[in-house]
């Protein structure tokens, strides 16, 4: 910096803050606003009339279990033996050790704690089955299950989950014979309950009539493959820039491009802590955006890149005579 630059900069800052005393032009702010409002309203009405908006039908436990029964039963088996994504998720759903993501040594996920506790076996399988009426075979199966030790229950559930995974198309009717205890009957009844629509209500009821929390049914559905298959068909997968996409060919949340971008590149694309790292990075970048006026170098970019010469070209062309 030359000896004259510092006082020049201070002088520039002082004059920037002064009330403008140079030439002015008539400028009708209210008229400008009214015209802008009319233009935006007409443009919005035209875009809505021409392009409409997407509304892909939701996936319910009923539609899932009827469209992909094998995937439903396989997922339910994983919920029962505790190997599903939700069962081993960590905070805020389970107390699974070392499941929480970290940024270096810090795990905000762990610190925040388990605020929505979920036991997938009892919440997704056993609880709904208890409400199924007048089914002697199911009642007997549940009595057998409850009479068994936790170790025996885990052995049955894991053995059936493994057998389903190995079966052709994960088809329960093609599972090799084995010691699965009452698990096949339980999961068969859970399937028929889901197909009849009973499971959607059972998971949503939350022990009260009015309910708005879809956490349990959504986590159950998301543990399966069916929802992801539907989403990928709509180019919504994580590796398809899905977070900023919308079903169909609609623009979606294009403003999430930078957030979505990090998930596509290493080390985020391969890290087990990708979500925590991306959120940490975006928090820093967001703070930087807010504090641009105070960050040396960044705040000088507008002086180095002469876009302002284009914006104020008429003024500069006239020699800047104020």
């Amino acid at each position: 910096m030359t000896t004259t630059e510092a006082p020049r900069r201070h002088q520039a800052q002082a004059t920037d803050a002064q009330k403008w005393t140079g030439r002015v032009r008539e400028y009708d702010l209210v008229k400008e606003f009214v015209i802008a409002l009319a233009v935006v309203a007409v443009l919005t009405a035209a875009l809505a009339a021409i392009f409409s908006s997407p509304d892909e039908k939701q996936v319910t436990l009923s539609t899932w279990s009827r469209s992909a029964p094998n995937d439903f039963v396989l997922t339910a088996a994983a919920e029962l033996d505790g190997s599903s994504g939700t069962a081993s998720y960590g905070a805020p759903y389970t107390h699974t050790p070392d499941a929480a993501q970290k940024i270096g040594p810090v795990s905000l996920q762990h610190i925040a704690g388990v605020t929505h506790p979920i036991n997938t076996a009892s919440d997704f399988v056993l609880g709904p089955l208890t409400g199924v009426p007048a089914d002697p075979a199911l009642s007997a199966a549940l009595r057998t299950w409850r009479a068994a030790t936790p170790e025996q229950q885990q052995q049955w559930a894991t053995a059936y989950d493994d057998a389903l995974t190995k079966a052709l198309d994960n088809d329960p009717t093609k599972v090799e014979p084995g010691n699965y205890g009452p698990v096949p009957v339980m999961l068969d009844r859970l399937l028929t309950t889901a197909q009849s629509g009973g499971l959607d209500g059972a998971l949503l009821s939350q022990k009260q009539f009015f309910a708005t929390d879809y956490t349990k049914p959504l986590l159950f559905i998301a543990d399966g493959s069916y929802l992801e298959d539907q989403a990928r068909a709509q180019h919504l997968g994580g590796d398809q820039w899905g977070m900023m996409n919308e079903t169909g060919s609609y623009p979606g949340q294009a403003w999430l491009w930078l957030y979505t971008f990090w998930y596509q590149v290493s080390p985020f694309s391969t890290s087990g802590n990708a979500d925590a790292l991306v959120w940490g990075l975006m928090a820093v970048l967001s703070l930087a955006l807010v504090l641009v006026p105070f960050i040396p170098g960044i705040r000088s970019i507008p002086r180095w890149v002469p876009v302002h010469r284009l914006i104020w070209r008429d003024y500069y062309r006239q020699g800047g005579a104020g």
Binding site: Q11, A36, Y214, Q234, L236, W255, V290, G322
Partner: protein, 214 residues
Amino acid sequence: MTAPTMPHTWTGRVRARALRDLPPDQLLPEHQPVYVASWIYVFGVLTLAAFLVVLGTGGVLALKGPQWWHRSSTGHYFNSLHLWSVELFMAFMVIHLWGKFFMAAWRGKRAMTWITGAVCFLGSIGTAFTGYLIQSNLDSQWISTQAKDGLNAAGIGSFFNVTDFGQMLMWHIALLPFVVGVLIAVHILQVRRRGVVPPMEIDLRDRVPEQMTP
């Protein structure tokens, strides 16, 4: 002649401060500096106009309830109006933001104008995001089950549950629009208080005393 005295009531002091910082002719001026002559200035007011259309169309959807647009063609059209006004709002705001960046519009004690605008941009992203969560269709199912991982990893999911439709509905139609609306109001008042930032460097060339120039 006696000097004007400062009012002693809280009300009087607020009025005096408001009149000092934002006298009526500064709040709604009929003239602007001659350099305010570029299409880039239009995007600020277009953003404000789009925000009002977003509020209006969202208000109609709120009046009829969150399921209306699934079963009514009129409701679907209002949902489309809401969607496209949000797309326009965000597009105008991004252009406005980039324009102000390249004008270094924080110069001259205008840092708070930039900060309120930037926070408003971030708040608008959050508001739009919660809107996608409450569509109650495949899109909202997928977005909520995917977004929960990022929010949970950041510790936010413990109190901001994206799979809780009721909670997200309240954030989308009450809390976040209120915050964004207040930020926009403060942002506009900051613009009126400090005035439109002058062109760069020209002040040195034309307005600084001769002895300060090289």
